[in-house]
Point group: C2
Chain length 114, copies 2
DNA sequence: TCTAGTGCTGACAATATTGTCAGTACTAGC
DNA sequence: GCTAGTACTGACAATATTGTCAGCACTAGA
């Protein structure tokens, strides 16, 4: 087996985590929960992300079947992404991770200011 | 902000994911759900992991407050790890990730042989 | 013609994570 | 003394992930 790959998951937990473990994947998914978005729209809605990174991550999410790519096949290009039917089975989990993450952030961040 | 750090989470999802996003963290956590385990015991129960990697990951999990370290302060050393009270708030989520991961693996793995 | 916009790719550098190997302090057994 | 075992650290190499930059094909507008 390849050594540094996330493919060789010991238990299914790792398989699930690897799907959402990219630097911006959680954020991208979270944006798309509100509905379909075009590439540039998505990019502008996520401060700090570059177009390159966005595209790399959406492509991985598409490859994993989590989101769908809608290409109008027009010129200039007009592409939108949305959470797939399969992806929606993951969204409740992401939502729970979000709640837990909020608690965790509050726990980690000490007495920040005030 | 530091560029390559997972600390600068855009949304709490990333904060939660980063806690369990290590190569073996999901597996380690999953082992500990059954109860407290000693270091070597844990290592032997996870095929493929090296002692170095195990220790790095348990230390991170301890730092995140997910697991507790019990040191008998004996010689030779006698250390055990267990899921902390706070860690148990994460376990239900990990369990769900596990279920989803099973489905995902079944979906990904095509008609594997036979 | 020049510029700006669309979504995307390739090449590469910077950084992060992981794997590998040796070594630590101490005891037990031979 | 030598070996094996405990849990762990430091240094480094291999690999993976991210970030940065240039460029593609094409059209609209000035």
């Amino acid at each position: 087996m390849s050594q540094g790959s996330r493919e060789s998951a010991q238990c299914p937990v790792d398989a699930a985590v690897s799907v959402i473990a990219g630097r911006w994947k959680g954020t991208i998914l979270w944006r798309l929960v509100d509905g379909q978005m075009r590439t540039g729209e998505l990019r502008r809605s996520i401060p700090g992300i570059t177009e390159r990174m966005l595209i790399r991550h959406v492509q991985e999410l598409v490859a994993d079947g989590i989101i769908d790519r809608h290409d109008a096949k027009e010129v200039p290009p007009r592409v939108a992404y949305s959470i797939s039917e399969y992806g929606w089975t993951l969204v409740p989990l992401v939502a729970q991770l979000c709640s837990w993450g909020e608690v965790h952030l509050a726990r980690t961040a000490p007495t920040r200011s005030t």
